[in-house]
Symmetry: C2
Subunit: 397 residues, 2 copies
């Protein structure tokens, strides 16, 4: 069981190189050296992996989904353990998201095909039906803060509305303003909960506000300034990586970079790919998360320094080669296992294959952030970025 | 890649306590301290696990299935790597079975329901159809030895016929005599292959003969004496655990125990359960293997010192208890994770749940053999056995 220090989250900015930053996020469960990739344990577990395995390859924090934890095992179960750290028996930092993304992606996305609307947004609450059994649920900013308080993550997220990438400017503006009001309500509830936590001598949690919205530059800047002024311990950028083009994504990051608070960690949600990490760090992002690494891994696809590899190909049947990597990004899997062996495992649907590829993909993203950190500290991020793109295909950034 | 010592397999008998034995099997890839449980990597991989994970919990040898390796990835792939050790990148001992069990269990078992016989036995060969695609294949004792030579395991098995548990005595007798003739042919081919391996400076392999057959005591004894006289480096007992009752199984082991060669390791195939290990070691068995530990683990069932637990039960929803174990048999999982957390993982079908239970179940069987070994070395096997049965339900032995 964990014995966290009673310290508030703080951020030490160690170095900058252009917009790229190296720092340390100090949390009650330990330090996180940024920039960092955060593996995702959707339902209080990393898919096909143990927490020991991601710790062994250098993970310093993991993400758990509020929405899934709320549905199963349920808030009351995790609360009875005093939070996720004890429930999962891990002693390193956890971040919980707010569940907003799941409410909307698992709800509104099906609206037109359903006999009944699966989600509905009002000023006061969001109504949605469980993706599991159709049961009815309401989330409010306050209820979501209370859940995350019960889950006990070191970093918690404000409740936000995630509108689709193709929203009209009118809707995007209304959703942004609602999300800002929800951010204020989230902050008020978080502060009230912190008072209660202090009375019980529980370690503090840190709220991150979420900058909204989609592809309209002026709204983005307005949202960044609003969230900066809200003065939460960290800021997140939401609403990217939900259908917009890479050009749009990078452009928005360019627009946002000057508006992000320098003294606080910047978290880009649901990103992502090796190239998006490299381009995100270039634009001042400190923290990333995405299920892509494990999702494609489970299906037999590996990140490599030279682009993705579909491991099941017949051409790898006898291959004694390893997953091709730049030397500084080699992983415990790419150093060890032949393509022929990995291909065999994937080909016969042995989960060990997806397990090893999930590990490899996570370790590569971790290695990218760790070597980038070294480069930033040395003032050599441009070299790092050029070396990455010298072998990685499809440069856009 | 592995760099095995060029030593033949040998066996050191360190202590006996009744029929129970403690010893060391010396193999080209390292020593195996017996009695020992061997985890099974059916298709060149442990289901849902890495080889690192079973090494961490004390495994000293693993089993790989000849039949599955022959079909996928195919003998030529593994041979091109110089054997399974290099293909899987492991440096500890491997045992391959002969494939007989799979040929018959996946073949003859379906005979009456099929449009064509899926397997056929003659004096010369066994014909069978692949369980994957119905393609036609022939195994002979010689071809099976050649495959196992290519796979390069430290211990290889003679090719045997596995008749169903309910065979008539007449059929059992004929199958036994055929299996004996196949054992002689297996030995001749193995010795010829060993000559070739020596020329290439490859490490030696050790053949185990297999004692046949089912529930007829006189045939069992006859087979034990035959295999003993065949003088292979080790002996296995086959044909148990294929439908006979536990009473029959233990009685046959009682009958066999005096006929097993004292100077060689005794391997009881496809066994098994905690109680069968305890009763097997009592009757002179040194090595066990079974997929049960991982199969029930993947489906949410845990061995415990007090009998099996079905983890998904609602009664464990809030349980902060661990899997109940005698202190000396606690595992890395039973020391760490609550029943509520394991139940949650199993309940939401997160593979991490089955992974952790597979690890737990294997570690418990390893702990049983390791603590039994300590007891045998101290002349206290009876105490060990009584303590096991003092809490484990359903004593038969």
């Amino acid at each position: 069981m964990s014995t966290p220090k009673l310290e508030k989250l703080s951020f030490t900015l160690q170095a900058t190189d252009g917009y790229a930053r190296a720092g340390i996020v100090h949390t009650p469960h330990g330090d996180i050296h940024t920039p960092i990739f955060m593996p995702v344990g959707t339902r209080s577990a990393l898919k096909w992996l143990t927490t020991d395995q991601i710790r062994d390859i250098g993970a310093e924090i993991m993400l758990v989904n509020n929405y899934h934890s709320y549905l199963r095992p349920g808030t009351e179960v995790i609360e009875s353990f005093g939070g996720l750290h004890n429930f999962m028996d891990i002693d390193f930092p956890i971040l919980t998201d707010s569940g907003g993304f799941q409410v909307f992606s698992l709800g509104l996305g099906m609206q037109n095909d359903s006999w009944e609307k699966l989600a509905k947004v009002t000023e006061e609450w969001v109504y949605f039906r469980s993706y599991l059994d159709g049961s009815k649920h309401f989330f409010t900013p306050e209820s979501v803060m209370d859940m995350q308080c019960a889950f006990g993550a070191d970093i918690i997220m404000a409740f936000d509305e995630c509108a689709p990438g193709g929203s009209s400017k009118e809707y995007a503006h209304a959703a942004m303003e609602r999300t800002h009001r929800w951010a204020e309500r989230s902050k008020a509830e978080w502060l009230a909960n912190e008072e209660k936590r202090r009375e019980k001598w529980l370690y503090p949690q840190a709220l991150f506000g979420i900058i909204q919205w989609v592809v309209y530059d002026d709204l983005r800047v307005e949202s960044a300034e609003f969230i900066k002024n809200l003065d939460t311990p960290g800021v997140a950028i939401g609403g990217l990586s939900v259908g917009e083009s890479k050009e749009d994504m990078y452009r928005i990051m360019d627009v946002l970079a000057p508006h992000l608070p320098k003294s606080k960690p910047h978290y880009l949600m649901w990103v992502g790919t090796p190239e998006d990490l490299v381009e995100g760090m270039y634009r001042g992002i400190d923290m990333f998360d995405c299920v892509l690494a494990t999702r494609i891994g489970r299906h037999g696809e590996a990140f490599s320094s030279y682009g993705n590899i579909k491991i099941w190909g017949e051409k790898y049947k006898f291959s004694q080669d390893k997953i091709p990597m730049l030397p500084e990004h080699e992983t415990s899997v790419s150093r060890r296992y032949s393509l022929a062996y990995l291909r065999h495992l994937v080909n016969v649907w042995e989960a060990t294959g997806g397990l090893l590829l999930s590990l490899h993909n996570i370790e590569y993203l971790l290695n990218l952030t760790k070597t980038a950190r070294v480069a930033i500290l040395a003032g050599k991020y441009d070299e790092f970025r050029e070396r990455f793109w010298s072998v990685y295909p499809g440069r856009i950034g």
